[in-house]
């Protein structure tokens, strides 16, 4: 019971903090909407898409990139929560969490669940706006995508958690942006299908295939069309487990939370 009480409190705290940061919510929505309404509109003519699973007919480019943009929201939020963890650590509130009389892995998993829940809310807000602009999925697709968003959100949140344990200062976060977010996003199937990538470089296609973000996007894409992509789920799940293990190692007290001299 104590564990559940703590989990609910951590989720509630994240939700309250999020409610106080309306700018963060707007920024998280504006970013994918710009891609959807500006970038996709421009690229629609340039990119020809063939019929590939899960699609059963020709689709517009806007429709193609919606799952990738859902992934983008999860990715940016994962990094954003990682940034807030570094901030929490510098500000001391991480100490409060880690000195609670609960297993550390549970506290970190609770933090992960909380940040994933906030990310998923934002994805649904984005899907609602996309629907207003005429990009519709099957009604049940909006339900089926929920577990896919949860698994992908946990994977990307765990990556953020792991990074936050290694990034020592807030100032170093620009490096994370350059070296994690952009390669992960662009070297994936979020903006173009992998066969299209293979036309220009088979090597890049292989890199994209190895990128766990690609599998997260495909998991979301298939779920939105009421199809199950077992391989994508397995890869995303494996990456989530690996990132979570890294995060738990990073926050192991034997390594020290912040080994500052004092």
């Amino acid at each position: 019971m104590t564990w559940v009480t703590a989990l609910l409190a951590i989720v509630a705290r994240e939700a309250l903090r999020f409610a106080h940061q309306r700018e963060r919510f707007l920024a998280a929505l504006v970013r994918p909407l710009v891609w959807l309404l500006v970038f996709a509109a421009g690229f629609r003519a340039a990119l020809g898409l063939s019929i590939i699973p899960p699609y059963q007919t020709y689709i517009t480019y806007e429709t193609y990139i919606v799952p990738g943009l859902c992934g983008m929201i999860l990715l940016f939020n994962g990094m954003q929560s990682s940034l807030s963890l570094v901030y929490d650590r510098e500000m001391g509130s991480m100490r409060l969490l880690l000195t609670a009389p609960l297993p550390r892995w549970w506290l970190l998993v609770s933090k992960l669940v909380a940040s994933t829940a906030i990310s998923i809310l934002q994805v649904y807000a984005f899907l609602a706006i996309a629907w207003i602009f005429g990009i519709e999925m099957a009604a049940w697709g909006y339900v089926a995508v929920l577990p896919a968003l949860a698994v992908s959100g946990v994977m990307l949140g765990a990556l953020g958690l792991a990074l936050s344990s290694f990034v020592k200062q807030l100032e170093n976060f620009a490096g994370v942006m350059n070296f994690v977010i952009f390669p992960m996003f662009f070297l994936s199937s979020a903006l173009y299908p992998l066969w299209k990538m293979a036309e220009s470089s088979p090597l890049l296609r292989d890199v994209c295939t190895a990128n766990p973000f690609t599998h997260a996007v495909e998991l979301i894409r298939f779920a939105l069309y009421l199809q199950f992509n077992a391989a994508a789920l397995a890869w995303t799940g494996l990456a989530a487990a690996a990132f979570l293990a890294m995060a738990l190692w990073g926050y192991d007290p034997a390594r020290g939370l912040v080994r500052r001299k004092g």
């Binding site: 009480t5 409190a9 409060l96 020290g256 004092g262």
Partner: protein
């Protein structure tokens, strides 16, 4: 602040709970030894002042006591529990006021305390009652709805102290909690924590400010990672002031 803190500690005078003890504890940052085989015991229901200049190793010791760091050598017992073998029991037995502010500035005083209570498995009516009691004891009841960001330094510290007592710990750890406070706020907090000790709470209070230590307190003088003195403050100082004694010992140890 009210002098009678029984509702927060759950104990009365002459009713002390198990205290805190450290045996043979060492810690290094790479090649630099921060703590060198230190050992001491904080008697139950006493105010123990851990006095030392900056860089003495106080914060490292607190990081070890709160399990933010762990060390392979030595042993720490808190409230009757071994910190490395039963960390959850030991953590549940201690209340902590960190040197760094740890309030969530965007949340209200009550929300901060509710969050902390839940981390200790306290929720619902029980949490509401305890929060009301602890805020009342620290004279913060009227500020329960204010955002932490809008509080002054003294009130933030009082909130953190109220929070540290919510789960009725047997041991209270305070790591230089008066840093940055004005004289009146500092004095009020020091007096209140002395009262808590008088009512049965075991207190370990790290500071480099000698005027926060009273002559009948248990005093530990830490310098360069070693305990230089351990005993009653008046006995350690003889006829000298605590400040003179600290200067003499740390200069001799330099």
């Amino acid at each position: 602040m009210t002098a009678d803190p029984t509702t927060c500690t759950g104990r009365g005078p002459g009713d002390p709970a198990p205290g805190l003890s450290v045996e043979d504890l060492s810690f290094s940052y790479g090649d630099r030894r921060a703590l060198d085989r230190i050992g001491f015991a904080c008697p139950p229901g006493r105010f123990t002042a851990l006095l030392g200049p900056n860089g003495a190793g106080k914060s490292t010791l607190f990081a070890l006591l709160t399990r933010l760091f762990t060390s392979r050598s030595g042993r720490i017992r808190i409230g009757g529990a071994d910190l490395s073998r039963s960390p959850r029991r030991a953590l549940a037995a201690m209340g902590i006021v960190f040197q760094q502010p740890t309030l969530d500035l965007d949340l209200t005083v009550r929300q901060n305390l509710t969050y902390f209570a839940a981390l200790h498995g306290i929720s619902g009516r029980d949490a509401r009652l305890r929060i009301a009691e602890c805020l009342d004891r620290l004279g913060m009841a009227e500020r329960a709805r204010e955002r932490a960001r809008d509080l002054n330094g003294g009130h933030r510290r009082r909130t953190e102290l109220a929070r540290a007592l919510l789960h009725r710990p047997t041991v209270l750890l305070c790591d230089e909690p008066t840093v940055g406070l004005d004289a009146a706020s500092r004095s009020a907090i020091v007096d209140h924590v002395h009262d808590l000790a008088a009512w049965g709470l075991t207190v370990l209070w790290a500071t480099h400010l000698t005027d926060e230590v009273r002559h009948d307190d248990h005093l530990l003088i830490l310098h360069r990672g070693r305990i230089l003195r351990d005993g009653r403050a008046s006995e350690i100082c003889g006829g000298a002031t605590i400040s003179e004694t600290l200067l003499r010992l740390t200069e001799a140890g330099s």
